[in-house]
Subunit: 354 residues, 2 copies
DNA sequence: TTTAGCACTCGGGGAAACGGAGTGCTAAAC
DNA sequence: GTTTAGCACTCCGTTTCCCCGAGTGCTAAA
């Protein structure tokens, strides 16, 4: 059976009606919506064909049709129109992304919340580091007799600092010396290499000096570790409940539980890096909890060495056109923002020591 | 009508049974549970009294009784036994709080998640600054020709940094000079005073120097602003759905919506600072969304100048004994952790610049 | 004051009945 | 060959009804 133009129009009408109303679509309704000047009986025949082709499904004998996963897939690939963002929408996104100086992690978090609000669906976001990050340089700042601030800067220009307390006190020249050692022996190394170098140093240096060095180096190792750690954030999980397919709690709970479990369960959602936008429809998701759920993801760049993925989670009956449009604009904005960018970059930040 | 000892035992039995099962409690069940050697008929009489006194309620004529808000209140104030934490529980809390160096805000966030997991209820947490925070000192570190790192340390020993780019380049002595000006004229001031001082300086200094100064000072102002801003985090909102009173979505949604709305709606939950532990039962909550909900909150200290409040949200049928025990241990641990503390303090951290 | 006995109330749950939307098929019309 | 009108049929969601049982409140006896 071949896919005539008319069948496509009918499929499209059904998908879009179902997206809008969440109700199975009957032949009569299609007759109107598709703008084809034929009777409902004709439509019925076509719909029977489409069902046979696996593009539509019937919840039960005497209900209208709903799109199947493959039906959605065809729609997304071929039928879906470009959704134009209104000025208001782009404005809204831009405003929302106008963030104050914040730390990377928090920017990601905020971005997720914003997107979730914009899209009316839950959102997850994660980051990953492309290559190995190393320390480019150390700076040590005396604070008082028995404390100094260690400032660590990576080759990706991330700067972190920590107050280090030393019971015994330390003179300015000693600090200078320490700084020299750190900058000469503990830069440009991977975490493992740093640990090794530290171990080696343990033998031929005074215990006092070694303790100081190791405190700073360990901090540096943690910083690098933190950067490499793939973090997952989720936002707006509650929004699921606003959609009728999740009004039976049995449907909603497994998914919500899965999404809430950030940190712990790394979201095992594969992202195909060869494309900027990934769409997974229903059973295309490997994960059990996502069987009746679609995921639309986009990636963006964070500087040169990191990549972020941000995705929208919703029922298969998702407004793909709208979501992809918004998401892709959103991801582009993030890339721009993190780039040399017009938008203020997520500048440096912070620290705390009680 | 007076509150006899027997009435108390009956009330207690009802509260605890209802907490455990979420089912109205009948006279027969009470007869067994309360350990009083009387018949159900006697209990019935007593229960009628308790109902008249407003301590119990009847969902409908021929159901058992459930505690009213005042019933819970009496229970919490007088009847509730001390719940002992098991070794496992304290262990679990301690383990969970063993956090890596992290920024304050994130520690709070994590703590909320942990507590939520431990208590099976949603948790919110917020921080507030007691007094005004000022900048204690500035350090400027040359990175390259046209960029330096500004390190700002507050009188509460919070350290934050930011990379500042300068198109024109800068020499080491110039940087030195800049640092001197900042440390002499922009320390110990409130945000408003800093803004004023900056304005005043605009007139009698060269435009180039002024631009640099203002970039650093504006950063400092942001840092102070960020510290003072009262932030609210929530965690584990989904857990609500695990409790039978919220299995009808109509009940759950308003509350969940309210809780998800962190950032935006500052949680308007009053905390009585004269006590470490606050319990608000059902209608005692001013807020509409919390009418059928109880909140148990505890405060803890973050260093000398800040205070945090962390609270558990659940149905009025909450296991108050368990929750208060865990919460108070939790809050104590946090205080200890943020204090000079045995547990590692949330050390300094961080920064990012693309 | 406590207890046994008993009639009464009321909500929850299951069975049965109803209505309506939508289908698939057939036969006629184009 | 394709489209259309007509019609019997299916099946779901809803409503109605009825029954059951848990629990009460009252009365009268212990």
């Amino acid at each position: 059976m071949e896919m005539t133009e008319r069948k496509k129009r009918i499929l499209r009408a059904i998908v879009e009606s179902y997206i809008a109303t969440a109700e199975p679509v009957g032949s009569k309704a299609v007759a109107q919506l598709a703008g084809l000047d034929v009777s409902s009986a004709t439509i019925r025949n076509e719909m029977a064909d489409l069902t046979e082709m696996g593009l539509l499904e019937q919840p039960h004998t005497s209900a209208g049709r709903i799109p199947s996963a493959t039906g959605y897939r065809l729609y997304v690939n071929e039928l879906m129109g470009e959704h134009q963002l209104s000025m208001q929408e782009t404005q809204r996104i831009n405003d929302a992304l106008e963030m104050k100086i914040e730390e990377l992690d928090r920017v990601i978090d905020r971005a997720g919340k914003v997107l979730s609000k914009i899209s009316d669906y839950p959102v997850f976001s994660m980051t990953e580091v492309k290559d190995i990050v190393t320390v480019r340089r150390y700076d040590l700042l005396m604070v008082e007799e028995n404390a100094f601030i260690a400032v660590v800067m990576t080759d990706t220009s991330v700067v972190k600092n920590k107050i280090i307390r030393i019971p015994d006190g330390l003179s300015e020249p000693q600090l200078q010396m320490l700084s020299t050692i750190l900058n000469s022996s503990f830069t440009g190394l991977s975490r493992e290499q740093m640990a090794q170098a530290l171990e080696k140093m343990a033998d031929h240096s005074t215990p006092g000096a070694f303790r100081l060095i190791s405190m700073v180096v360990e901090f540096a190792i943690e910083v690098l570790g933190e950067l490499r750690r793939q973090t997952v954030h989720t936002a707006g999980i509650t929004q699921l409940l606003e959609h009728p397919e999740y009004k039976s709690l049995d449907k909603a709970k497994p998914l919500m539980r899965f999404l809430s479990d950030d940190e712990t369960a790394q979201l095992p959602i594969p992202f195909d890096g060869s494309q900027n936008m990934n769409i997974l429809i229903g059973p295309e998701n490997v994960n059990e909890a996502f069987r009746d759920t679609s995921v639309v993801m986009a990636s963006y760049d964070i500087g040169d060495n990191m990549r972020g993925v941000i995705g929208v989670v919703g029922p298969t009956r998702m407004d793909y056109a709208k979501v992809t449009a918004r998401l892709s604009y959103f991801a582009d904005s993030l890339t721009r923002m993190f780039g040399k960018g017009e938008l203020p970059p997520p500048a440096s930040k912070d620290d705390f020591e009680a």
